[in-house]
Amino acid sequence: MSEIAIQVEHLSKQFRIGANSFQKTFRETVSDAMLAPARRLRSALRGQGTQTATKEFWALRDVSFDVNQGEVVGIIGHNGAGKSTLLKVLSRITEPTSGSAMIRGRVGTLLEVGTGFHPDLTGRENMYLNGAILGMSRAEINRKFDEIVAFAEVEQFIDTMVKHYSSGMYLRLAFAVAAHLEPEILIVDEVLAVGDAQFQKKCLGKMGEVAQNGRTVLFVSHNMAAIRSLCQRVIWLNKGTVLKDGPSASIVNEYLMETVTSSSSRVDLREAVRHYDYGKRFKINDLTFNHGEPILHGEALNVSFNYEAYADVYGVSFGYGFSSLEGTRLMTVDSDLNAPRYQIKRGQHGQLTSTIDTLNLQPGIYLLDVGVRSGDGSALDYLPGCAQVEILPGPSTPPSMSRLDYAGNVRLSGHWQWPETAQEDRD
């Protein structure tokens, strides 16, 4: 019964980076070719071997594993571990340098939502175009048309050009098309890192459905809660090799334990990986907690953001939040809950400071989520889980307070009024 769906054998993929990168001009190639013999001669005369300026980098190195039909496998690892490269090789977008993979069944790839969406086409037109790009036939889309539109909740706007969509609508439609793809093998990369929480939940539900239908799924995510709930098995990649391969519960735990915590309270976000056009019009360059001092439980928390605007932006609001390492948001601080929004002109940069009086989140390690929204509700910059921060016990933290699961994540002392019949115990 359990036939092998994907068989990966000694798969390796090398990239060349650095001075002598892939893309050259035609002129450089010609002059290189002409000068190469002279250079070789010169280095031979000097008694050196030929040296190339090229740096080689193995994105994948000798990766082997089998996936049975109907298995849902999560792929985890830090940035640069080779997760995306693995998915790209398996979906035939790029070729391996050596090794091989056998794939049994039709493959559907979902490396980003809305691949090929064109802003000047209507929602309906983009559905057909995107469907064709993902490998769905026109007949298939015709058949599922109503279902897709209903899932995306864009009935009224289906004949509007998608450039007039809010980013939420855009994502919903794009995901809805992809979610109705019915390949035997589904390859999905971090597509759930976008959209609002409610829609993410809906997507996860749909993914779960797909998994239950006996289809094989490879799923890359940083969201450990999603990995845990969807996958039975996890492959942990590290520096291009398979570090661990096994049941998801135990591997995810090990992964979370191993993950190093940034002790610095300044978070540099200039080079952080962003999805979509986040950071293009408006960007958070960095943020600093408590002027560089540690974050303490029970004390005030001060966050200062350095931002830069690349376009005129209106109705801007900032927000940040802390999530558990599994990706569940535990608290959020928003600038526009009871306060106005602001407009920022193109080219301006500045520092915005936010303060809360008491940080009640228990001491422990959390993921930091940061975002900036514009007036239409779309995200200008959004960096979920961009850093791990540690909240340390503060002077008012009772010694008894530790990160106990049954205490939840926020444990408060509160004000209590005891009846007179009760006596204070001074032990």
Binding site: F26, I103, E125, S137
Partner: protein, 282 residues
């Protein structure tokens, strides 16, 4: 590189491994993706007509304005011979197929770079990209063709039985344009400076083709050499079948068809050979 075969249960098995050297064209797979090809053409055409203020009029303006300029400069001022036909009709019969070719040359060459986001995110036979761009030009061509036909009637040039041969010459433009854009689109991904060469190349190529002048100016003994430019064969063919001027000589046609097919086949093979690097480089 990737071979897809079908087992009895029609579960396709794909083998992924590094390819070396020349690879097959995978025409069967290309055929399986014909619907995507259609949608890419449809997208390009639709977006082009939606985005531009002039929309479909653009397809007419380009050859008609060139015709006016050519007629004034080459016809009236330079008084180039036009085989005894009104210079307007003489030039438009060349400018319409030329516009189709020029579109293939410029748009086709940039097609891979322009579709980089698709190439990096999803697999499909990469050949569909330049093919769809070149075939998309046929829509503009059809519009321009109707205008040209009206003009010819206005100049009292009525179609003859020779017009039946026209589809062959249209096919020849497509083959030439596709061959050139397969080469250039693949080179354009690898070498960043190719795109700067293309406008210059298009200009030189036009001078080397009988657009503004008549190929009857070429001495007979050099006709074969001139015919090595497939567009010379195309334009001669267009004028022959629409205007009834000149003649179709094997000394022009044979090298034209030969070179066009050579460009197409080598272009497709070269494209497939370097295709594996596209997603990493584009």
């Amino acid at each position: 590189m990737q071979r897809a075969s079908t087992t009895l249960q029609t579960t396709p098995i794909t083998r992924i491994e590094a390819s070396n050297g020349w690879v097959s064209l995978q025409l069967r797979e290309l055929w399986a993706y014909r619907e995507l090809l259609f949608f890419l053409i449809w997208r390009d055409v639709k977006v082009r007509y939606k985005q531009t203020v002039l929309g479909a009029a653009w397809a007419i303006i380009q050859p008609v304005f060139s015709m006016i300029v050519f007629t004034l400069i080459f016809g009236r001022l330079a008084k180039l011979p036009s085989d005894g036909i009104a210079y307007e009709a003489f030039s438009i019969t060349a400018l319409v197929p030329w516009a189709l070719f020029a579109n293939a040359l410029s748009q086709g060459s940039n097609s891979l770079v322009g579709n980089a986001n698709l190439i990096k995110k999803v697999y499909f036979p990469r050949l569909t990209v330049p093919i769809s761009t070149v075939l998309g030009g046929l829509v503009d061509f059809a519009i321009a063709f109707v205008v040209m036909f009206g003009m010819l009637l206005w100049f009292d040039i009525t179609p003859t039985i020779r017009m039946l041969a026209l589809p062959l010459f249209i096919l020849l433009v497509i083959i030439t344009g596709l061959g050139v854009s397969l080469w250039l689109s693949a080179l354009n991904v690898q070498f960043r400076d190719i795109r700067y060469v293309i406008p210059f190349m298009a200009q030189l190529w036009q001078y080397g083709s009988p657009v503004a002048y008549s190929s009857s100016l070429i001495p007979n003994e050099w006709r074969w050499l001139y015919g090595l430019n497939p567009m010379a064969g195309v334009i001669d063919g267009f004028r022959w079948s629409l205007l009834g001027t000149g003649q179709i000589t094997w000394s022009t046609m044979l090298p034209s068809v030969g070179i066009a097919l050579f460009l197409l086949i080598t272009g497709a093979l070269y494209f497939r050979r370097v295709e594996k690097q596209f997603a990493d480089m584009v």
